[in-house]
Amino acid sequence: MNPPRIQDLKPGDPLPERTFTPTNVSLFLYNAAIWNAHRIHYDQDYTTGVEKHPAIVVDGPLQGDWLTQTVINWLGDAGRLETFEYSNRRASYLGETLISGGSIKSLETEAGTVALDLFIKNEAGEIITPGSAVVRFTP
């Protein structure tokens, strides 16, 4: 895919979507990589018995990382990420398929900045992790 050009963009344009179905192996690897030993991400008996979650919990920061990837995979070398935020609003559990995506919120063509709305949705279509970002295109 060619990197985007700011003059081709308009508010509402979508960013490429991607689906993720975490497995207990992928969650184990992610948590090993971030040095997180919290058992709700790999120990079924502990997760349901002790912390009373319905199932193994998909990491909130992992969803944030998918949103960062949504931006930088779309932007490529055309610019750089300037601000980025997300908020984990609703839990997600092992077995769910999640969708990452976003859209152009607004542009300041002269300044070279583009504001983006970002989301992680579940299969019911609920936005469980909303986010936003500002990217600055290289002149």
Binding site: V57, P61, G64, E82, T83, F84, E85, S87, N88
Partner: protein
């Protein structure tokens, strides 16, 4: 539990940069959630070069039941 993150990238990093990261425990507040009280903890992460040039700053929220 994870609550969210707000990051600002001031400049890109280059080979040879020496970075200094400071993490500050900045706030703790209690809110009433639908299933009982929740405690919100905030951390500030600040990254600069060794001569003080800002590189990245971040607010990280964690939620404790």
């Amino acid at each position: 539990m994870a609550g969210g993150t707000k990051s600002h990238y001031h400049r890109t990093v280059k080979p040879g940069d020496v970075l200094v990261a400071t993490r500050t425990f900045s706030a703790i507040t209690e809110k009433q959630g639908s299933s009982g009280p929740l405690i919100f903890i905030e951390y500030e992460l600040n990254v600069t070069t060794d001569n003080g040039e800002p590189v990245m700053s971040e607010t990280l929220t964690r939620i404790v039941r």
